[in-house]
């Protein structure tokens, strides 16, 4: 198995009407053995920006710490939060710095930018940004996630419908992947609130 499949992960972000949702699985494994079933892959950068990191867990943790550091410095200097587009460029630059010895991660960035417009983006492990209007996926269950999201996505969904759709897409996809699953974590973010839910899934 490749280094990207060492720990196993599934990440997906989807756009709705003035809102977005980002979801991940909860498994941390060492190849086929499951070590933890409550691993946090998505973290909050600020109230309107979330980042999820799939791939090798140790690189995800290090990259997360470096990004938090850079964002805090930005907040001190500019006295405001970073816009999602800017943050995506920051992630891309940090990853390309390690072009010839990369972080084995695939980040998914999701945030609300100016005018409460939802913004989602993913990059590959060396920083190539992929902006999408509907959904982005990452992780070992990525191929299954593409299929499930493509089938279930509708434009301009309200937060409740978006939550249902994304949860079903995530659970259906991880049920076809040995290396991810064991529950799910989902954040639904609107301009006024952030809803965090844990999903009950198959534990095999």
């Amino acid at each position: 198995m490749s280094i990207f499949e060492y720990n196993g992960s599934a990440l997906v972000a989807m756009v709705g009407k003035n809102c977005f949702a980002i979801a991940s699985d909860r498994r941390l494994g060492v190849q086929l053995q499951t070590i933890a079933t409550d691993f946090q892959r998505i973290s909050k950068v600020h109230d309107r920006l979330f980042i999820g990191l799939s791939g090798l867990a140790t690189d995800a943790q290090t990259l997360h710490q470096r990004l938090m550091f850079r964002h805090k410095l930005y907040q001190l200097r500019e006295e405001r939060d970073m816009k999602p587009e800017t943050f995506a460029s920051l992630v891309s630059a940090l990853l390309y710095e390690k072009r010839f010895g990369p972080y084995f991660c695939q980040p998914v960035i999701a945030g609300l930018s100016d005018g409460d417009k939802p913004f989602i983006c993913t990059t590959d492990s060396i920083g190539a940004k992929e902006l999408a209007k509907d959904f982005v996926v990452a992780g070992t269950a990525g191929d299954s996630l593409y299929g499930a999201c493509e089938a279930m996505f509708k434009p301009d969904m309200e937060p409740e419908e978006l939550f249902e759709t994304l949860s079903q897409a995530l659970l259906a996809s991880v049920d076809r992947d040995c290396l991810s699953g064991w529950g799910g974590h989902i954040y639904v973010v609107t301009p006024t609130e952030v809803k965090e839910c844990t999903l009950k899934g198959r534990m095999d």
Partner: protein
């Protein structure tokens, strides 16, 4: 006993013989070389192609009331789950079961072949074949294919005149008799539960629950095991399927979801 002198015969006749008699033997003995780039390593490559496929959990143990056999039902190809509903317990005949671990095609084919041989033995000898005999038949067949890339890790469980019998047979040619076995990538986890909960004098329900729990724990920890935990019992009158529980539901039966304390609750803010 007739002596086996095939090794002493030479391919070419020493004295002049009629051409018709030696047709097919005139050429020097030769064997076909496989057309491959890597003559020394191609067999190992063939084995490696099939080898990672032992992603499964199967177990069997002997107890007072017979033999309990259990398995999961997931088939995986690398990281992809190709099926959650594979039958891994193969019914060789009404009183003998075989478990599947390794290459699915290999296990299915050779178990069916074993079933045929057992039936022929019954017809020729007017009595059922013993578990010892059946496992020896399979082990000898697999030994003759040793090194050719078959991947079979099976347990033969049955009830014959001497009582319950359980043998482990694999594609390396190994054959072991024992009271408890677990085979597959999830076997370490299943052994943990099985070994700590095992007693010889359990009832059928207790043994079935032990087997089910062992398979459930293996599916929880092992990524390559999952789906449905099937449990079979082999008694003096043959085998009977006891249960086939979805392990996703078993988890919430063993560990029900309890409401947790609320950490942060939103309240309506009165307008200023």
């Amino acid at each position: 006993m007739k002596l086996d002198t095939t090794g002493l015969e030479s391919a070419l006749p020493l004295f002049g013989a009629n051409c018709q008699m030696v047709d097919g033997f005139t050429a020097a003995p030769a064997f076909e070389l496989p057309t491959t780039l890597d003559f020394d390593g191609f067999q190992k490559e063939a084995i490696q192609m099939v080898k990672p496929a032992k992603g499964t959990t199967t177990l069997a143990f002997i107890f007072k009331e017979g033999v309990m056999v259990a398995a999961d039902s997931r088939a995986s190809m690398g990281g992809y789950i190709s099926s959650q509903s594979v039958k891994k317990i193969i019914e060789i005949n009404p009183y003998m079961l075989g478990t599947m671990a390794g290459g699915a095609a290999d296990c299915q084919f050779w178990h069916r072949n074993l079933g045929i041989k057992c039936r022929l033995h019954e017809l020729a000898n007017k009595r059922r074949i013993s578990v010892t005999g059946a496992s020896k038949l399979l082990a000898n067949i697999l030994y003759s294919y040793r090194g050719m890339g078959l991947s079979v890790g099976t347990m033969i469980a049955g009830w014959d005149e001497t009582g319950p019998g359980l043998y482990y047979v694999d594609s390396e040619g190994g054959r072991l008799k024992g009271p408890r076995f677990s085979v597959g990538s999830g076997s370490p986890y299943a052994y943990g539960v099985l070994d700590s909960g095992y007693r010889y004098d359990m009832s059928i329900e207790e043994a079935a629950e032990l087997a089910r729990r062992a398979i459930y724990h293996a599916t929880f920890r092992d990524g390559a095991s999952g789906g449905v935990a099937s449990v079979y019992h082999v008694g003096p009158n043959g085998w009977k399927k006891l249960s086939g529980d979805d392990v996703g539901e078993l988890h919430y039966k063993y560990y029900p979801v309890t409401p947790s304390t609320v950490e942060q609750e939103m309240v309506e803010v009165s307008a200023a």
